[in-house]
C-alpha cells in the first residue's frame, strides 16, 4: 500500500545545534554552520587590524585560504555589553568569523518556531527563529545575518585601505579583542 508522501513531511526533523554564550545570553547556531572553533589566543597572531572599519563590531580580519574573513564581535552585534571573548567560530558560507564568550554544549533541537510577526526590528535578520530547550527559550541565529551586504562592502573598503597601508609599512599581527 502506498502512503501519501505528505506523511513524510510530518515526521519531526532534528538539527544539531551548538549553544554558545555571549555576554551572559545563550544563543544557538546550527552545528552544520560552524566550520571550525578556535581560541582567541590561537588566532591572535594571524588577525589583522582594520583601523578604518566603520563598523564597531568588526575591528579585525583574518586570511583563511584565498578568502578574507571579518571577525565580528557578537556582543556588539547584538547590542550587549562586550566581555572578553575566548572563542572564535569560523562560519561556513559566510565571510564572518564570530567572537563569542564560550560554548555551553551541543544538543539537538526538534522544533524551530518562526519569530513572531511582532518582532519587526533587525532581529528578523539575526534569528532563524526560537527553540525551546529544557523549558528555556533560545534564539537560533542565522549565520548569514552577522554581516549584511552593505556592511561587507564597507569592510572590503577598509580592508583594501589596510592592505595598502601594510604594503607601505611592515605591520605585524594584531591583538584580537
Amino acid at each position: 500500500m502506498n502512503f501519501p508522501s505528505a506523511d513524510k513531511s510530518h515526521q519531526p526533523r532534528t538539527e544539531q545545534i551548538i549553544l554558545f554564550r555571549v555576554s551572559g545570553q545563550t544563543f544557538a547556531i546550527s552545528s552544520a554552520s560552524v566550520q571550525e572553533v578556535r581560541s582567541v589566543d590561537n588566532i591572535a597572531g594571524m588577525a589583522r587590524d582594520l583601523p578604518e572599519s566603520h563598523l564597531k563590531k568588526v575591528r579585525h580580519s583574518i586570511r583563511r585560504g584565498d578568502r578574507t574573513l571579518y571577525i565580528v564581535n557578537a556582543a556588539i552585534h547584538f547590542g550587549l555589553q562586550p566581555q572578553p571573548a575566548s572563542l572564535v567560530f569560523f562560519l561556513r558560507r559566510t565571510r564572518a568569523a564570530l567572537l563569542i564568550d564560550g560554548i555551553e554544549k551541543m544538543t539537538t533541537m526538534t522544533r524551530l518556531q518562526a519569530l513572531s510577526q511582532a518582532f519587526q526590528g533587525e532581529e528578523r535578520n539575526w534569528y532563524r527563529g526560537l527553540t525551546a530547550l529544557d523549558q528555556a527559550v533560545v534564539p537560533v541565529v542565522y549565520p548569514e545575518g552577522f554581516l549584511s551586504l552593505e556592511e561587507l562592502t564597507l569592510l572590503e573598503a577598509a580592508q583594501s585601505s589596510a592592505d595598502t597601508r601594510l604594503a607601505s609599512s611592515d605591520n605585524h599581527g594584531a591583538q584580537v579583542q
Binding site: S9, P12, R13, E15, Q25, F27, F78, G79, L80, T110, R111, L112, Q113, A114, L115, S116, Q117, A118, F119, Q120, G121, E122, E123, R124, N125, W126, R128, G129, L130, A132, Q135, A136, V137, V138, P139, Y142
Partner: protein, 159 residues
C-alpha cells in the same frame, strides 16, 4: 425583532488595564494564563518585553497599558493570549492585564473616522462605554504582509 438583535450580537472578552476596561472580540482571544517567566534575548522591537513559553509555543509579550492608559501596569495578574491574523497565518501575542476578564455578548458600534486607529468599535455594557481594541494597531507587526517568515532549511518551523 429580538431575533434580529441577537443575531447582530457578538462575543467579546472584557479585559482590565488599571482602572479601565477594554474589549477584544472573543474570536481573537485564546486563553487567560497566570504570568510566567519572561524570556529575554537581544532584539530591536522596543514594544516587546520578550517571550513567554506556553504549551511549547513561544509567544511575544507586549504591554499595551501605557499606550491606552498613559501608565504601565502596577500589577499583572494574568497574561491574555490573543491572536492576530496575517494572511492565513495566526500570530500569537501575550498581553498583561491587571484583573479578571469577562466574556460578554454585545452589539458593537463601529468606530468612526474620528476615533483613534486602535479603536475597532464601541460597546455599551453595564453602564460603561468600552473601546473594542484593534490589536494590530496596538502591537507591533508587519505594515504589509511579509510572510513567510525568514525560516530556511528547517521543516518543523511554524508559528
Amino acid at each position: 425583532m429580538t431575533t434580529a438583535t441577537e443575531s447582530s450580537q457578538q462575543s467579546f472578552v472584557l479585559l482590565r488595564l488599571g482602572e479601565r476596561r477594554f474589549a477584544l472580540p472573543a474570536s481573537q482571544v485564546a486563553e487567560l494564563v497566570a504570568p510566567s517567566r519572561v524570556f529575554r534575548f537581544p532584539h530591536k522591537s522596543p514594544a516587546l518585553e520578550g517571550v513567554i513559553l506556553r504549551r511549547g509555543r513561544m509567544i511575544a509579550l507586549c504591554d499595551i497599558a501605557e499606550q491606552l492608559t498613559g501608565k504601565r501596569l502596577d500589577t499583572r495578574r494574568f497574561n491574555l493570549l490573543a491572536t492576530r491574523k496575517y494572511e492565513s497565518q495566526l500570530d500569537w501575542i501575550a498581553i498583561p492585564v491587571s484583573g479578571e476578564c469577562e466574556l460578554i455578548n454585545s452589539e458593537m458600534m463601529d468606530a468612526s473616522s474620528n476615533d483613534s486607529p486602535h479603536v475597532d468599535g464601541w460597546l455599551s455594557h453595564g453602564g460603561e462605554v468600552i473601546e473594542v481594541l484593534r490589536l494590530s494597531a496596538l502591537t507591533p507587526g508587519p505594515a504589509e504582509t511579509l510572510l513567510p517568515a525568514p525560516l530556511r532549511d528547517f521543516a518543523e518551523a511554524r508559528s
